[in-house]
């Protein structure tokens, strides 16, 4: 009962936030939400199914460009969103025979190739991707309500004009909530336990009657669909997408999110995504008022360099002191309180 109340209160607060968040914060939050969804997918893949993938940026790109292409061709935005997610899932399924054959670091390397393949396609398939110029992303709309600055042209709630970012905030919150809910249920369900067994010992899992190949493929597909959904939200947050946003660095960032958050934990992945995405943007935002950081353009250690240092330090700290990431820390804190 009180749990439901807390959830309700959280949603009320989330629903009210755009009223006083400035556009910078909304934009940052949207990027963070997109990263959260995709990171949950990778966390399930790495933490639950035990498959290392460096191709996550590739599947995110499929989601983003898939939505931009479908919506641009006149498909209804909701269908374009579903289509993009399915497309990412299909790409994941197509790659899964490889994922079923190689393990660990070898799978990481095999999947790494996809990122570079993706970059080549994004740069050169200009008919669909627009090449280096990128493509404009049609705004999302639902039942005639557009998540953009028009349609309705002016929407004022409690004296605050609701533009594109304010409207997208709600879409983001709903999508993240769905992603968390589905992820949690998946982990606790029969297939989730089967995947965890698979991770710990394939032989044991097979003896228990788990179809190893099929489950591995399914894990990769689901994770790719998460990436696709994250990609769609990212595309909507950008308004125009360019290939540079979906490079190798993004894949590494996802890996960092999962490690910091704690592999296998849905909430941890979301927290890790928030940390990794928002940290450089927020530090940049406050670089003027933080005493140690140089103002951009004046030389010295700037916010961007500093956030990289924090990143590095956070990863080292997590690996040394909290192998199970933020999620593990939270779990231990809760246990101590109970005891």
């Amino acid at each position: 009962m009180s749990r439901a109340l807390v959830t309700a209160a959280v949603f009320v607060v989330l629903a009210a936030l755009p009223i006083w968040l400035e556009s910078f914060w909304l934009q940052t939050a949207l990027f963070a939400m997109a990263a959260m969804i995709a990171a949950i997918g990778l966390s399930l893949l790495i933490g639950i199914a035990g498959q290392l993938s460096l191709a996550h940026a590739f599947f995110v790109a499929i989601g983003a460009y898939g939505y931009a292409y479908l919506a641009g061709e006149g498909v209804a935005p909701l269908l374009a969103l579903l289509g993009a997610v399915l497309l990412a899932g299909l790409a994941g399924a197509a790659f899964s025979p490889i994922a079923g054959r190689v393990r660990g670091i070898y799978l990481g390397l095999a999947s790494l190739g996809l990122v570079f393949l993706g970059q080549h396609i994004l740069q050169n398939a200009t008919g669909i991707t627009g090449g280096y110029e990128g493509v404009a992303v049609e705004p999302f709309s639902l039942f005639g309500f557009s998540f953009s600055n028009t349609d309705p042209d002016t929407l004022v709630i409690l004296g605050v004009p609701y533009g594109r970012l304010e409207r997208l905030w709600y879409l983001g919150v709903v999508l993240v909530a769905l992603a968390v809910w589905y992820g949690r249920n998946l982990v606790r369900s029969r297939p989730g336990r089967a995947l965890a067994t698979l991770r710990d010992s394939e032989v044991a899992a097979a003896v228990m009657g788990v179809d190893v190949v099929r489950y591995k493929a399914a894990a990769f597909t689901v994770s790719s669909m998460y990436a696709g959904l994250g990609g769609v939200l990212m595309a909507l947050a950008f308004g125009r997408i360019v290939p540079e946003s979906f490079g190798f660095v993004l894949s590494v960032d996802f890996l960092v999110m999962v490690v910091i958050g704690g592999a296998g934990s849905v909430g941890g992945a979301a927290a890790g995504a928030l940390f990794v995405t928002a940290l450089p943007l927020v530090l940049n935002h406050y670089s003027g008022s933080l005493p140690l950081l140089a103002e951009p353009g004046t030389g010295g250690v700037g916010a961007s360099e500093f956030s990289r240092f924090i990143y590095g330090a956070a990863i080292v700290a997590v690996l040394l002191f909290a192998r199970d990431g933020l999620a593990g820390l939270a779990r231990r804190a809760r246990k101590e309180r109970v005891a």
Partner: protein, 420 residues
């Protein structure tokens, strides 16, 4: 209990909203605020300051260039402010680092956009592409630190000079008139995948079609550092000259490898293919022998009033710095363009974003004192504002390592070139 809690949360929220809701903050600044001197102002302009946003790359792959650009911009605006500013207002520069990452750039733009009248500098065409929808809906001008004609037509974007394709057409013209390349010959074009290289390739293909030349294309990415394979391909094809639309690391490799393979042909590069640091590489000798640069940004050895003033001021402000055409001089020229637009807008008594944009498009013969070749005409958003280019040869003795070859010029072929 529970309903009381919900109730108190609701009341608290209502209070917070009433107290610190962001309101229509952006609109209130955007109204027709008329100050004492009856100049209409909007976001980014008050009675005593005008604020410009700068979005360079200070931590990504182009960080050295970005830092150099901020030196040039600060140099110009500091001097301007000392001289009384524009329209009786001081110029404030707000800088946000993009790290050459579109995501960071979009967030940084959201942070700046409410407070600035326009963007004094944005580096990277992928960044400009990502920002363009917002920039257009906010109606501000944007100084693009790049020279690609793919961005045209763009109402909001100002390019300093002419574009890579026109530079390449001029490069071919130079090769044919000065370097003995004849109809029927083969020339190589080494270029980057992406806006810069592919835009230049459009120009070289156009010129080649006009003069019955054959172009051998070699497409590379910025990650490719060793040009041995490309040089071999050029040698096999028997090229008489090489056009180069990539970055300095590739230039060093190209010139060095070509010299060692005895491929002794002129190399003509676009502006971004040169940096004075190249003279400190082992390829310096080969570069001095065969390397030329065609660009609308002035080589620093040009004896024009604007360039000389820039050089003296730069040396005074940064005794240890190295001025560069694409870095500090570009940002300096970009500031000249913004200055001209703002001054004109002030004369029109309209310092709103739209007023500045209109003022920019009314400039038909902006003279930068030679920092950008020729005069600039911003009246037609579908064409680059400049037509002329500087041709320069590598020379270790010249400032910036480039010696200008004659006055700015324009190839006859360029006049028939259609953008898009």
């Amino acid at each position: 209990m529970s309903s009381r809690l919900v109730g108190s949360v609701a009341v608290a929220l209502a209070l917070v909203v009433a107290a610190c809701g962001k309101g229509g903050a952006e609109e209130s600044g955007g109204g027709a605020g008329t100050s004492a001197d009856t100049v209409k102002t909007g976001p980014g302009a008050t009675a005593d300051t005008i604020t410009l946003g700068y979005l360079p790359d200070l931590s990504g792959v182009f960080a050295p260039n970005g830092k150099s650009q901020m030196e040039g911009a600060n140099l110009y605006w500091d001097a301007k402010n000392k001289a009384g500013g524009i329209c009786g207002r001081q110029i404030e520069v707000k800088v946000q680092d993009t790290g050459y990452d579109p995501q960071k750039a979009v967030a940084a733009y959201q942070q700046l956009s409410g407070d600035v009248i326009g963007l004094g500098l944005v580096l990277g065409s992928s960044i400009v592409s990502a920002l363009l929808p917002s920039v257009e809906s906010d109606g501000m001008f944007l100084n693009f630190a790049g020279w690609t004609s793919d961005i045209l037509p763009a109402e909001n974007v100002a390019i300093a000079g002419t574009t890579y394709d026109i530079e390449a057409i001029n490069a071919v013209d130079f090769l044919m008139s000065e370097k003995g390349v004849k109809a029927g010959d083969t020339i190589g074009h080494l270029y980057f995948e992406g806006d810069y290289g592919e835009n230049a390739l459009k120009g070289s293909k156009f010129a080649a079609g006009k003069h019955d030349l054959k172009i051998v294309e070699q497409k590379i990415t910025p990650a490719d550092q060793d040009m041995t394979g490309q040089v071999s391909a050029f040698k096999k094809a028997g090229v008489k000259a090489i056009l180069f639309s990539a970055a300095p690391p590739q230039a060093a490799s190209l010139a060095g490898v070509a010299a060692s393979q005895k491929l002794d042909v002129p190399i003509v590069a676009n502006g971004p293919g040169w940096t004075p640091q190249l003279l400190k590489t082992p390829a310096a000798k080969a570069l001095e022998a065969n390397y030329y640069v065609v660009s609308s940004m002035a080589p620093l050895s040009v004896q024009s009033e604007g360039v000389q003033k820039f050089l003296t001021d730069y040396k005074a402000a940064n005794p240890k710095g190295t001025p560069s055409s694409n870095g500090s001089l570009y940002a300096y020229a970009g500031a000249q363009i913004a200055d001209a637009a703002l001054t004109k807008a002030c004369e029109n008594k309209d310092l709103t974003r739209k007023g500045v944009l209109d003022a920019l498009h009314s400039l038909n013969a902006l003279d930068t004192g030679g920092t950008v070749a020729g005069t600039l005409d911003f009246t037609d958003p579908s064409r680059p504002p400049g037509k002329l280019v500087y041709l320069a040869k590598v020379s270790a003795d010249a400032p910036g390592g480039l010696k200008a070859l004659g006055e700015p010029s324009e190839a006859a072929d360029a006049q028939g070139y259609e953008f898009k």
